[in-house]
């Protein structure tokens, strides 16, 4: 158990209103000596209600108590089973094959470059990333949207995300995805992911539902598109437009 032993720099705690009724009431009564007590109480009631309403709007929804146990409820188990089912859906078989083909190409081209050491310099990292991007771009000159995310996979993923947003707390999901999601950025297949654009966070529930990817690739949202990002080459492999439910 963590025990808070003390702190400073924050000053003494401010006494909550409930513990200091005396001075507040005294001041009010002293300044309103000739006011009818009933009216005063009514005014205070109205004032308190108003303060309460205003204050409540500033208190956000994320005040829930910390979760005490991992999700083991029947609904969590159902969600996990659903996630497994999603990942193994026949509509995704072709997509998985295309991913495997892409990764094979990636590995083949990357093997022609000097191996990036685990303790590299910025020069080595930058050179490797850009060289790999160029090689992949040259080898996939004719690549277009939908080559990896096949038509059936796109339909399936859109529906999957739509279902997820119904079943899971969609406000939390959306907040995580929208957090610094680059809405005004255009990305294209084989194009470099823009250096100055942050990566939108992928909620664990979404990653759990989507088919797993090899280490070379990641899913990310750019606006409402789901993209497939080659993390070694920092390029966009493919995308599903309008993937994020409205």
């Amino acid at each position: 158990m963590l025990v808070w032993l003390g702190h400073s720099g924050g000053g003494p705690p401010i006494a909550p209103i409930a513990t200091a009724p005396g001075p507040v009431r005294g001041t009010l009564l002293a300044s309103s000596a000739d006011v009818d007590v009933g009216r005063l109480l009514l005014n205070r009631w109205v004032l308190t209600a108003a303060v309460c309403a205003v204050v409540a709007t500033f208190v956000r929804a994320d005040t829930q108590k910390p979760a005490q146990t991992p999700p083991t409820s029947p609904s969590a188990a159902t969600a996990q089973a659903q996630a497994r089912e999603n990942r193994n859906a026949p509509e995704l078989a072709e997509f998985k094959m295309r991913v495997a083909e892409y990764v094979a190409l990636h590995e083949k081209l990357e093997s022609t470059l000097p191996k990036l050491p685990k303790e590299g310099t910025p020069e080595q990292i930058d050179r490797h990333q850009r060289a790999l991007g160029t090689l992949i771009g040259s080898s996939r000159q004719m690549a277009k949207q939908g080559d990896v995310f096949t038509q059936s996979a796109q339909v399936f993923i859109r529906a999957l995300l739509k279902r997820l947003f119904v079943n899971v707390d969609h406000v939390k999901l959306r907040n995580t995805i929208q957090d610094e999601n680059p809405w005004f950025v255009q990305v294209k297949v084989n194009g470099r992911y823009p250096d100055r654009v942050p990566l939108a966070s992928m909620p664990p529930d979404v990653l759990k539902a989507l088919p797993p990817l090899p280490e070379e690739l990641e899913y990310r949202f750019v606006g409402d598109s789901l993209i497939l990002l080659d993390v070694h080459a920092h390029i966009v492999v493919d995308l599903v437009p309008r993937a994020l439910p409205a």
Binding site: P70, P71, G120, E123
Partner: protein, 309 residues
């Protein structure tokens, strides 16, 4: 007094007390875009870092790689501190390099500002933020061993650090985290990552999907302290589920006055200048000082580790 009135008073009092406790008396007040800094609190003297022989001394900060003046000035304060408090490592809470990360960016946004520390042999252990290229994991001076998430033991002390990749929490990472926490025999388990499970930050706030996924594991396996960034302020939370959370997102970038008042989990906020956190662990205690760009100790305290859960 009518019972309805009593109920309203009680609710108002509880809500108001949450508000008053949340920010601490010296937090900035925001009016429109203007920032008004309240008068400094009448505070007790800061808790000093004991600077004991054999203790683990380290520094934590995030959201720093801007290459701008604020980052450099805070880095200078770290160098000044290091002369008297020789910390051996730095944990970064992500957003290590903003914008492009060409070699010259690594120079301007990392190697130059922290040169005195790097020259003194201080090791940086990075976690990645949403502004970081995934390939930073191969950068020698970030000591990530080519991994997006990893753990390491303190050189001599009984402390395990765990760096997570919070923008992409794949099921494999969660499984790895559980295995790592379960098998960790160290007294202290300290986790750091970019996205905060708790934050009063106005721009982002608490990451609730992350909290739902990680907090049960932190509680179950005896994590004592968690550091995050992402929101560009400093914040210390009230212990949540027995765990002490810090937000250390003003290591270079700063959003002045950008926080929501009245979060019930909040204990202390500094949102008017850049801040880094210096900490010292000796046996069962961690003493910390939050130090500002001007060298002022703006928050301090002592935390006891969680015992044998």
């Amino acid at each position: 007094m009518p019972s309805a009135l009593l109920r309203y008073c009680a609710v108002a009092a509880v809500v108001a007390s949450c508000l008053s406790c949340a920010t601490g008396p010296s937090a900035s007040r925001v009016a429109g875009n203007a920032v008004q800094v309240a008068a400094p609190p009448v505070a007790a003297a800061p808790v000093s870092l004991p600077n004991r022989d054999g203790s683990l001394k380290f520094v934590v900060f995030g959201d720093f790689g801007t290459g701008e003046r604020g980052q450099y000035e805070l880095a200078n304060q770290m160098a000044v501190l290091h002369q008297t408090f020789p910390f051996e490592m730095v944990a970064t809470a992500g957003d290590n390099i903003y914008g492009s990360d060409r070699p010259q960016d690594f120079q301007r946004k990392f190697e130059t500002p922290y040169k005195p520390l790097l020259d003194a042999g201080v090791k940086f252990y990075a976690s990645l933020g949403n502004h970081d290229s995934r390939e930073q994991r191969y950068y020698k001076l970030f000591n990530m061993d080519g991994k997006l998430y990893y753990s390491f033991k303190a050189p001599e002390q009984d402390v395990r650090f765990i760096a997570l990749e919070s923008t992409y929490l794949v099921p494999e990472q969660i499984e790895w985290l559980e295995e790592t926490l379960k098998s960790a025999k160290e007294d202290w388990k300290i986790v750091y990552c970019h996205h905060p499970l708790y934050s009063s930050g106005g721009r982002h706030g608490s990451d609730l999907t992350l909290r739902a996924a990680l907090e049960p594991l932190f509680i179950k396996y005896g994590v004592s302290v968690v550091f995050g960034g992402h929101d560009h302020i400093y914040e210390r939370m009230k212990p949540q589920g027995g765990i002490q959370y810090f937000l250390t997102g003003s290591g270079g970038a700063l959003r002045k006055g950008d926080y929501r008042r009245g979060q019930p989990f909040s204990e202390r906020i500094v949102a008017d200048q850049q801040v880094f956190l210096a900490a010292e662990i000796f046996k069962d205690e961690m003493v910390f000082n939050a130090i500002s760009r001007t060298g002022e100790v703006v928050d301090s305290g002592v935390i006891a580790r969680r015992q044998g859960d």
